[in-house]
Assembly symmetry: C2
Homo-oligomer: 184 residues x 2
């Protein structure tokens, strides 16, 4: 049950939201069924409802900023930050941020990848809500938590639009709380 | 003067917003002074004011969706779409969108680049507001207008947070109206 949302109404909204997500088989590679959220995003009413419901989940942590990873994380992260009246802090691939950065490396299925944050983006003790579109294996979110904590800031919780529960990504996020609007 | 905004108050807000943008010399390459908007984004009050003021500029066109280019365009585009209660349609680099796409190529200083949109993202006659963070030389925005019009939709106007007027990008956008919150 979502705080501040009539459970019956909330469920009806979530059913409608789910009907606007389509499965794309074999994307980005064979054997993976990709959750395509673009039909939901293009529906103004449904997108607004999703942001409103995610804000309900997020505000119980009383964040003073949203930290989100490019590119799809920017969609939910920026809309949420503006809706909640808190700051927005981007995490990007190496070389994209123009000022001094801190970097973390994290393991992929094959090889490694890196993410960066501006070194001055989060003050010591800043209360950060980590936002992304989908929690899959959890590698990106775990790396983002490390970036936040390296700055002396607090990763209050991770908030996703969708959690792919069968991939077990939640187990990679340590003691950080995890919320998601939809679960598969 | 911004519609619906007290001109004195609006100007004071814009002065404060401008003070939160910093110049980064020689990024992404020597001789270019990059406008770093991340200090503004991380200030929740100022970011919210920017989205509110851009929504004032956008709503006079009565769009039914915002079309925005990854990655920084997603920050303003998604926050604006959610604020205005309209749909959000992403334009991405080739291979990133999971469903059937339409593509345009456009010229860079050296070589070409491409952008894609989902072929079913915009219905015929859809009223699209093209949003990005910065209008520089206009190549990306001109390509996005072409993508919108290829779908039979209407590119009502382009709306930017910042226009780098000295680069003359506006001249590349044809008859499409151009609005920006800040001008350099």
């Amino acid at each position: 049950m979502l705080a501040g949302v009539d459970p019956q109404g909330g469920n009806q909204v979530l059913q409608r939201v789910k009907s606007l997500i389509r499965d794309i088989p074999d994307f980005p590679k064979p054997g993976i069924v990709f959750k395509d959220i673009t039909p939901l995003l293009s529906n103004g009413k449904a997108f607004g409802e999703v942001i409103g419901l995610m804000a309900e989940l997020g505000k119980k942590h009383a964040p003073d900023c949203v930290v989100a990873v490019e590119s799809r994380g920017f969609i939910f992260g920026a809309a949420l930050a503006a809706h909640m009246g808190v700051g927005f802090v981007p995490v990007r691939k190496p070389g994209k941020l123009p000022y001094r950065t801190s970097r973390v490396e994290y393991a992929l299925e094959y090889g490694t990848d890196s993410l960066e944050i501006h070194s001055d983006a989060l003050g010591k003790g800043a209360r950060a809500l980590v936002v992304d579109d989908v929690l899959a294996t959890g590698g990106t979110a775990a790396a983002t938590i490390r970036l936040v904590e390296q700055q002396g800031a607090i990763a209050l919780a991770c908030l996703f639009f969708i959690e792919l529960s069968f991939l077990g990504g939640r187990s990679k996020l340590g003691s950080c709380g995890v919320d998601a609007l939809l679960h598969y």
